[in-house]
Subunit: 347 residues, 2 copies
C-alpha cells in the first residue's frame, strides 16, 4: 500500500522543540459522547471591571481609556522583588530565583468586540502597545511574554477583550529550547531556521492559510492542536520591536483576517491561547540574535465544532502530542472559510 | 527578608525532564470568576457499552466478564500495520513511521464503582492484568503506555471505570527524555535517580502523602499540577512486570488509599490522568536498564474545589508550567484527608 499522509498514521518532527508528534488521521471518525464545551459570545457589559470608569474588586478604578489600557495584574504570578532561594547542592532538589511582573492589556473599551470584528487601525494600536511594553519591560527583564487566553475553556476569567504580559528575570523552558534549536540550525545552515521554513511553506502552499506582502500564516508541519497556526514574517524580524510601519499595518490586516476565519470556522468566538516569541531581551539585548525569527502562535483547542474540543490528556501528558486531523486538512479547511465576512454580521 | 518557599515565588528543577517549573504561592488568593467544571459521580448503568453483555456501537457484544476485561480499541490512534512514510531529506519536514495498538481495560463489570471504593483484591486483579498486557505487548512494542483518563474534564468519554493502553513501535518524547535523564544521572552517581530521590523524600517527610513497606506516594518536588503525585517503589523495580506478589498487594493497598484521599479532598470522584512509566520494552528487553525505576504518575487538574481547575494555558503553553499551591502544602492537605473512609459511604 502506498503511504498517504492524510490517511496513514505517522510521526512528525518539531524542529523548534526537538520532539515528535503523533498523527492519526483515521481517528477523526470516532464518535464523541464526552464533554460538551460552552463557548459563549461576549456580551456588551459596561460594568465589567475592565471597562473604562469601573472600579475593580481591589478598589482601583479603571480610568476612562479610549483605545487600549495596560495595568499591573492585581494578582500577579511574578513580583519584581522577592527574597531569593538559597543555593541548592542536591541535583534532585534545585531551586532558582524568579522575578518579574505581570500586566493586563485591555484591547478596547468595549466588552462586545473581538479582534475579528475590530477596525484594522484599532488592531495597529494594540500592536503598538505590545511593542511599547516589550521595549519598556525588555530593558529590565530577559523574557517578555505577551499572550492572550481567549474563552472560558482556555481559563480566561473575564470576557472583556484583553491579553496579558508576564515578564521574567529568566528565559522560560519553551523559549530556551527554541533559542537553542534555532541557534543549532543557524550554525549548521548559516540561515535562520524560520526564514528557511517560511520560504518552503510558500513553495509547498498546502499548509498556508493566509499571506500578504509581509506575513504568512501557516498550520505548521508539526502542529499539535487541531487548528494551530503560526504567524511568520517574510523578512528577518528578530523582535516585535524591529517592525517598520508597513509591517505593523500588514500584521494588523492578517490578524484580523485570521481571527475572522477562526470565528467563522465553527460560528463561535473561537477560543485559543496565543502569544509572541522573539529574541530574548534584558541581558540579551546586546547579544547576537541572528538565529531568531519573531513569530506568533495560536493554540486553539476546538476539534470538531464549537462544543467538542481536543483533550490533551493521558497519552499526550505521559507520552507525546497526538493529533487526528492532519495539518494539511486543517489548513485547507481554514482557507475555505471567509476572512472578511464575520458570521456575526452576516444576514 | 528571609526566603520562605511556601510564600515566595521561585523556580524548581524537574530532573526527569530537564526543565523548570514556576511556583507562585502568593497567587492562590486571587478570586475566580471563570469556568466552573462539572465533576459528576458515576451512576449504575447496566446498559453502558463497557458493561458485560452489552453491544457496543460497532456491533460487537462485550462478553459476560466478571472482574476485568481487555479489548482492542474500536477507534485506535495506532494500528499494528500501516504503510511507512518515505525517508525525509529536509530537516524541517521530517516524518517517521508509527505502528502500534490501542486497548481498553475495563476495571470492573459495574459502572458505579471506582478504585477508591473497590476491594483490594479487585485492584490486585487490575494490576495483574496490566502486567499481563505489558508482558504480551512488550514482546512486540518498544513502549507500552498504560494510562487512564478519569472524568469528563480529562476527556474521558465513558463513565465506566476503565483505562487504556497505547503500545508503539517507538519510544515517545516523555519516556525518551526520562530515559536519557535517568541514564545521565546513573552514569554520574552510580545509583538510580529515583531510588536516591525516594530515599531523600522519606527523610524530608514533608512531601510524602502515603507509604507502606513497599511503596511511597509523594507530591514531587517539581510537581506541575496542584495535587500531582508520584508512586515510587522502595526497591529497585525496573518494570511493572518485575513486581513480586507482596509488591502487587502493597501497591493495590496504597492505590486504594491514594484514590480515597483524592475523592475525599473535594468530595467528588477526583478527575485525573494517570499512567505508569518503566524501562522500555520490545527491542530494549535485553538491554541494561539499571538506570530505570518503575513509577506511577497522577495528574489531577482540580485546584480549589470540585468545580475550579488549574488551566495550563497561555503562559504554561508558551513558556513553562506554573503552579500556585506549593508541593509541600498540597502534600500536607492530602495527608490530612482520610485514606480509609470514602466520603460516599460516610453517614
Ligand atoms: O481514547 P479516548 O478516551 O476516546 O480519548 C481521550 O484520550 C486520548 C488519549 O489520551 C486523547 O487523545 C483524547 O483526546 C481523549 O479524548
Ligand atoms: O491570569 P488569569 O487569566 O487569571 O489566569 C489564566 O492564565 C494564566 C496564565 O496562562 C494561568 O496560569 C491560569 O491558570 C489561567 O486561569
Amino acid at each position: 500500500m502506498e503511504f498517504r499522509p492524510t490517511e496513514h498514521q505517522h510521526q512528525r518532527w518539531n524542529p523548534l522543540r526537538g520532539e515528535w508528534i503523533l498523527v492519526s488521521p483515521h481517528r477523526l471518525q470516532r464518535p464523541w459522547s464526552g464533554a460538551q464545551e460552552e463557548t459563549a459570545l461576549p456580551v456588551a457589559d459596561p460594568n465589567n471591571p475592565l471597562c473604562p470608569g469601573v472600579t475593580r474588586p481591589n478598589g482601583i478604578r479603571t480610568p476612562d481609556y479610549e483605545s487600549t489600557y495596560v495595568f499591573t495584574n492585581d494578582f500577579p504570578a511574578l513580583h519584581p522583588d522577592a527574597p531569593e532561594p538559597p543555593a541548592s547542592k542536591d541535583p534532585l532538589f534545585q531551586m532558582a530565583p524568579a522575578k518579574g511582573t505581570c500586566r493586563v492589556i485591555c484591547y478596547s473599551p468595549r466588552t462586545d468586540v473581538t479582534m475579528g470584528i475590530m477596525a484594522v487601525q484599532d488592531i495597529v494600536k494594540i500592536i503598538e502597545m505590545w511593542i511599547q511594553e516589550l521595549l519598556d519591560l525588555g530593558k529590565r527583564f530577559d523574557w517578555v511574554q505577551i499572550f492572550e487566553n481567549r474563552g472560558e475553556i482556555m481559563g480566561c476569567s473575564n470576557p472583556h477583550p484583553h491579553g496579558q504580559i508576564w515578564a521574567s528575570s529568566f528565559i522560560p523552558n519553551e523559549p530556551r529550547i527554541k533559542d537553542l534549536k534555532q541557534r543549532e540550525y543557524f550554525e549548521e545552515h548559516k540561515t535562520p531556521m524560520l526564514l528557511d521554513y517560511v520560504k518552503k511553506e510558500l513553495e509547498f502552499k498546502e499548509r498556508v492559510v493566509l499571506s500578504n506582502n509581509e506575513w504568512v500564516v501557516v498550520v505548521p508541519y508539526w502542529a499539535a492542536w487541531p487548528y494551530e497556526t503560526m504567524v511568520l514574517p517574510r523578512t528577518h524580524i528578530r523582535r516585535m520591536s524591529d517592525m517598520n510601519h508597513d509591517q505593523k499595518v500588514a500584521l494588523a490586516h492578517i490578524l484580523r483576517q485570521l481571527l475572522t476565519k477562526y470565528d467563522n470556522l465553527f460560528k463561535t468566538i473561537f477560543p485559543f491561547s496565543m502569544g509572541w516569541h522573539g529574541a530574548p531581551t534584558g541581558s540579551n539585548l546586546d547579544k547576537n540574535v541572528d538565529h531568531w525569527v519573531f513569530h506568533g502562535l495560536y493554540y486553539p483547542p476546538l476539534l470538531r465544532s464549537a462544543t467538542v474540543k481536543k483533550f490533551m490528556v493521558g497519552y499526550e501528558m505521559l507520552c507525546q502530542g497526538q493529533r487526528d486531523v492532519t495539518p494539511e486538512t486543517a489548513a485547507s479547511t481554514l482557507r475555505n472559510v471567509s476572512a472578511t465576512d464575520h458570521y456575526m454580521f452576516k444576514d
